[in-house]
Symmetry: C2
Subunit: 314 residues, 2 copies
């Protein structure tokens, strides 16, 4: 029997482009793929990454503080907040337009500025690993490292990028409001860039210099919203073992146990496929009936029908 | 009899400070004043201005595009979007904290990225009048005018500021979602900076280079949400006639007719008190029982009790 599902979808920040013109093109195909699911009666909640965008905004704020001595540099948490609106505005607009084009007259798409609580003692703060911003030459990277104390890492031969801490999400602060919107049938864009990273200091939520992994944030959100399906969109149609080798094998169906075994063998690249598979396993094992899928944006619709993608289930 | 009201509150962007450290202090006193009303059982919806903040963000994005040739300059509409999260994040946090400090365990404060439709033929586009950003010296203002084609105006002896078009708000695009949140008892921050200015081009909402007056946007929102009271917070406790003169007279109670008469006499400064009085008159005359109030942030609580402020009613 066909079931109308509650689906949390995690979109990659890299897929949204490095500049605003690139983003405005990217959101169109994103909107088409999301509307395909909405049109089939599914309830869709959207989480997106922000790696390139938050790096760009952080650079802009730093450029301003160089030009204007009255402007102190802007914390990364504030840049994450800004990236939520920078991306959300375009994405909600593209979704609204695509829905209207398909005859949906009421098009309730909404972006919620979302904070996500992390543990201030998360070991991730000792080991920055999440790349943000553009790829840089070695010289520019060294210059930025000296000027701002940024930590730079070489990224698989493609150049240098700033890396920041990526602590695990513990709690979605605005969950209550997100829940109300989803229950009221709105299409909600939330936890953008993994959410604004904050930790609790008595009653105060203090921003911290980090970017939360959007795959983990979307897993937490999917659990909290009691979603049926978590879809993690990425650059490949299926998860593979022996990736890039002669004996590469694409996987269509994985139990949590199998996925864990492959993860333990080091089959999935850290910072790339590994967190996606981990988030998928976490969601699929959190409650009976919950399933995760990893696939390409443009294959999401077929994936839901079981025609492609990698399904992870208990 | 004491009535629990639905109140839309418009906060000035200038009251939120020119820098992030200033903003973080400002939101604390704002949160206290808002919580005073919430504590008394009123339902509060918050709209804020963004004059200094959207100017700052626009400058940051311009500074980036000077440093990075791959980054084209960012449209003002996108900067308005970013300012909604830049301000909303701090404001929702301060509100949450103040509520918790007062024993509210569930503290559902939420910022909605909000687009507001304007008319692309609004005459305001021909006559930019809304000042944004910092006060500049004549030299710097002329330099920016040349470099970016910005229009600069001298502002009451305090220096030069960039001015942009300020078209009238016609429709709040995300109203449906805002309504759901307000009905569900959430404290909503919306229409920040007057809302992201967009106009309709078939099914596409196109951003435009403008900043909508937050007083007019809050008036439209108050009407749409069927609020009882619109409170416009400003730098004076009461609206006055003969302002700054020896015979200045503070007004406690104004009918729409009286207010219109004073407005026609030129008693209220354009771009300052005039739009506030106009928004107040518009709301008060839109339906029986609707009242507007203009006062200081820290006098809002007393104002609601009829002890101070200027009430505008039909």
């Amino acid at each position: 029997m066909f079931t109308r599902k509650r689906i949390v979808i995690a979109l990659g920040g890299n897929a949204l482009g490095n500049t605003l013109p690139e983003q405005m093109i990217a959101v169109k195909s994103t909107a088409k793929a999301l509307c395909d699911l909405i049109e089939e009666g599914h309830q869709v909640v959207v989480v997106h990454g922000n790696g390139p965008q938050v790096g760009m905004i952080n650079n802009a704020m730093a450029a301003l503080s160089r030009e204007d001595e009255n402007q102190p540099n802007t914390p990364l948490s504030v840049c994450v907040a800004m990236s939520q609106a920078y991306i959300g505005y375009d994405l909600q607009n593209a979704l609204r337009e695509e829905l209207r084009n398909r005859g949906f007259v009421r098009t309730p798409v909404v972006t919620v500025v979302t904070q996500v609580r992390v543990d201030e003692n998360d070991p991730a703060f000792e080991n920055p690993s999440k790349p943000i911003g553009r790829f840089l030459t070695k010289e520019v990277a060294e210059e930025q490292a000296k000027k701002y104390g940024h930590i730079m890492k070489e990224d698989s031969g493609r150049g240098y990028r700033r890396v920041v801490a990526s602590p695990k999400p513990q709690e979605i602060v605005e969950l209550d409001a997100i829940n109300s919107l989803v229950d009221a049938g709105k299409i909600v864009i939330t936890c953008g860039g993994g959410g604004i990273p904050v930790y609790l200091n008595k009653n105060h939520l203090k921003g911290c210099s980090a970017v939360i992994d959007k795959d983990f944030a979307s897993c937490l959100l999917a659990k909290d919203l009691d979603a049926d399906l978590l879809i993690i969109l990425t650059a490949v149609e299926k998860v593979a073992i022996n990736y890039g080798k002669e004996n590469q094998e694409d996987l269509s169906d994985l139990t949590v146990e199998q996925a864990q075994k492959y993860a333990d063998e080091g089959q999935f690249a850290p910072g790339s496929m590994l967190p996606k598979v981990q988030a998928a396993m976490d969601f699929a094992s959190s409650k009976p009936g919950r399933t995760a899928m990893i696939t390409l944006l443009e294959k999401a619709k077929e994936g839901i029908k079981g025609q492609t993608g990698t399904i992870i289930h208990n």
